[in-house]
């Protein structure tokens, strides 16, 4: 089966080609079938591959298709690597991906058949790129997928291209990603310089030779991490993600919650050896992750756009994942990626269903009491909220708790902050839930009039995801439960190489129980607090003040960037264009020409038409030349 792995990315590509080229004459139904079908097929293949991979003692296999780049001593094959990590991500991507495709067939149904096909083409292309990203057997392959997903996110954010603001958001996303990509590229170059290769296996074999804490490794790790920052929306490159909500909601679910944004985590997990050998950088990763988690969560507290809340929550959750990576809990990070994929996709799709029902309305202050119109959405959304809040028994609980535990082991302060972040999460999620689904409806009458539960194509994925969000956590039970940590066992080959360099503090069971109890208790308190505050929310319309205002305006980060980066750049380029180019260089060039003309005008004055003067000039010339040649 492994040798057929190329089919996995190829099928979505096929879908992309068919839908893309046939967009003008394919009927919507067919388009939808092709779009979803290819991804579903890919999912099936991935499953088969997964079962093959999860056999104990499976060694990573590299499927090399052809020689992509070879210059001098550098050889970069176009190859796929199948191992536990990539197989797992294959499942997540194709699984969640196919669900969202199905969802989209109904969600995007109002679109004209042309743009409907365009939508699915883009979506397939995204899946293709994402698969390349996780399947790639070397960093260049990863970079190909890396940029590919960036492109797709650009295309999908700007899907409704008539709205110039959406395009601006798309550009912002792409450019911010590019900033990260530059870091990633430089990292790759450094790898080439050091190891003369970018293939994972070779690189990871050679890395330990450099020894722990070598400067080169720090540089590589940092540069790669910059790439991750861009892609996974970490400080300082996170501001594009909330804006990316301009895209259709399923896109937000797939790209900006479940899959693409986790590419950064995938990359770090993939290069875990490098990071384990560069502890300082790991610390930076942890800190960045933590700060991002807190900042995003704090912003999410005051957002009123349903998707914006989810977006910031995504950023915050990604922060947790990086925290995990930073503290060396790679498994936990991947675990959280998985669970987060489930419940965040669920939440987004749920919000999509709501928006769908509200006729495009996204402001939660205009909603309320929706539960009586759309029960399924309500239930699933609630499950999602519980999962993300970390109520015991749901997937979020296990993954997040594992992260917290490791944070404790790593540094108590970090644990405390992480916990605060978790509580904020619980608060804003339930604020969102209560404002949206409880209380009385605050929208207009015609909105109220055609409120309805969404069709099956929408609700079905919701249900599936809800189930997953509940049971997803049981693949990684804490050892205090005595049950085996399936995921950890499954992934152990991947993270084995870095094991010797990690200093894992094992917590005593008592302590771990205590921590669990503490977090759970506090979370429940938070939820109740939110309930009391928002269950009968009425839009007071009171202007926020002080810290609340700051939060509502996202700490004014966008304004800050505008002031310190965008404006100076504009000023600089204007200066180049108007001063240096026109006045400086070109002025100089033209100056030569003018100088010649001027000189001509002066010299010609000697030609004054009087022969007496001519002879005189000749004699003077003779004298001068004589003096030069005889006496000099």
């Amino acid at each position: 089966m492994i040798h057929l792995v190329w089919l996995v990315p190829f099928l979505p590509l096929l879908g992309f080609l068919i839908n893309g080229l046939g967009r003008n004459f394919l009927p919507k139904s067919l388009t939808g079938v092709i779009g979803s079908g290819t991804v579903l097929a890919a999912f099936v293949i991935s499953l088969l591959i997964f079962f093959e991979v999860r056999q104990p003692g499976f060694a990573p296999q590299v499927v090399s298709l052809f020689d992509f780049i070879s210059a001098g001593s550098l050889h970069i094959p176009f190859a796929f690597q199948v191992d536990q990590l990539s197989a797992l991500f294959l499942l997540i991507i194709t699984g969640v991906g196919s669900l969202i495709h199905i969802y989209s067939t109904s969600y995007m149904h109002e679109e004209s058949s042309e743009s409907f096909a365009r939508y699915f083409a883009y979506l397939n292309l995204f899946v293709f790129s994402m698969l390349i990203l996780v399947l790639g057997a070397n960093y260049v392959m990863m970079f190909i997928g890396w940029e590919g997903v960036g492109l797709c996110s650009y295309l999908l954010i700007g899907f409704w291209f008539k709205n110039i603001n959406y395009n601006k958001a798309a550009n912002k996303a792409f450019i911010m990603n590019r900033i990260g990509d530059l870091g990633f590229l430089l990292g790759i170059f450094l790898l080439i310089q050091q190891f003369g290769s970018v293939t994972f296996i070779e690189v990871f074999d050679k890395v330990p030779a450099l020894g722990e804490g070598s400067g080169v490794l720090f540089a590589i790790a940092m540069l790669l991490f910059i790439g991750a920052m861009g892609k996974s929306a970490q400080i300082p490159l996170y501001t594009w993600l909330p804006d990316a909500m301009a895209g259709p909601t399923p896109v937000s679910a797939l790209i900006h919650a479940a899959t693409m944004v986790t590419a950064g985590i995938y990359m770090v997990a993939r290069s875990n050896v490098i990071y384990s050998l560069a502890p300082h950088i790991q610390a930076i990763v942890a800190i960045v992750g933590l700060v991002t988690a807190l900042l995003a969560a704090s912003i999410a507290l005051k957002q009123n756009d349903i998707k914006k809340v989810l977006a910031y929550s995504t950023v915050s959750q990604l922060g947790y994942m990086f925290l995990a990576l930073g503290v060396g809990a790679y498994t936990a990070a991947v675990f959280h990626v998985m669970t987060h994929a489930f419940f965040k996709a669920l939440l987004f799709l749920g919000s999509g269903s709501v928006i769908h029902a509200m006729g495009g309305e996204q402001d939660i202050r205009k909603m309320g009491g929706l539960k009586k119109w759309m029960p399924i959405t309500n239930i699933t959304f609630l499950i999602g909220c519980l999962a993300i809040a970390g109520i015991p028994g749901l997937s979020g609980f296990f993954s997040k708790d594992e992260i917290l535990a490791h944070a404790w082991g790593y540094n108590k302060v970090m644990y405390a902050l992480a916990l605060i972040g978790a509580l904020m999460t619980a608060f804003y999620m339930f604020r969102l839930y209560y404002i949206t689904f409880t209380g009385k409806f605050r929208g207009t009458h015609e909105q109220e009039h055609h409120l309805h539960e969404s069709p099956a194509a929408i609700t079905l994925p919701l249900i599936v995801l809800a189930v997953l969000s509940v049971i997803g956590g049981y693949v990684g039970l804490p050892e205090v439960f005595g049950a085996p940590h399936l995921l950890a066992e499954y992934l152990s080959p991947i993270f084995a190489p870095s094991a010797p360099y990690l200093h894992v503090h094992h917590l005593s069971h008592g302590l771990e129980w205590g921590l669990m109890g503490l977090s759970t208790g506090l979370v429940i308190v938070m939820i109740l607090f939110a309930r009391s505050k928002f269950i009968n929310y009425t839009d007071g319309g009171a202007e926020n003040t002080g810290i609340a205002k700051v939060l509502e305006n996202k700490w004014y980060v966008d304004e800050l960037y505008d002031a310190i980066i965008v404006k100076p750049l504009m000023v600089l380029s204007r200066f180049f264009q108007d001063v240096v180019e026109k006045a400086g260089i070109d002025g100089l060039v033209n100056g030569v020409g003018t100088g010649v003309k001027w000189g001509g005008r002066q010299i010609r004055l000697l030609q004054n038409g009087q022969v007496g003067f001519y002879i005189f000039a000749m004699v003077i010339g003779m004298i001068v030349l004589f003096v030069i040649s005889l006496f000099l």
């Binding site: 030609q607 004054n608 022969v611 002879i615 004699v619």
Partner: protein
């Protein structure tokens, strides 16, 4: 007698001729000064021929023949030159060289 004397004499005449060319504006006088320059050269050539004869060169006659040819050319030049000056005088009723300065720059 050192030949330098003759060299200096003819150079003096030569330069006086140049001065004349530079100082006067009457075309005919200028032309005369040019003739003076030629004669200075002739004198120098004759002196040199004498010098080389005394130094025992046989073909020293060449210098005197050169002078002869210079005279020939001078005569030819004079005929043409005066014709030109006359033509100019016809058109402008002046022999002032600076009258004619239409062509300039």
């Amino acid at each position: 007698m050192p030949v330098q004397y003759y060299i200096f004499l003819s150079i003096a005449l030569f330069c006086i001729g140049i001065m004349g060319v530079l100082m006067r504006r009457n075309a005919i006088i200028i032309f005369m000064c040019i003739e003076l320059m030629l004669n200075a050269v002739n004198l120098l050539l004759v002196a040199f021929s004498k010098m080389w004869v005394d130094a025992g060169r046989i073909d020293a006659a060449s210098a005197q023949l050169f002078v002869f040819f210079v005279m020939v050319v001078a005569a030819a030049e004079v005929s043409v030159g005066l014709a030109i000056i006359v033509m100019m005088y016809r058109n402008t009723h002046s022999v002032d060289i600076n009258i004619l300065s239409r062509l300039k720059n």
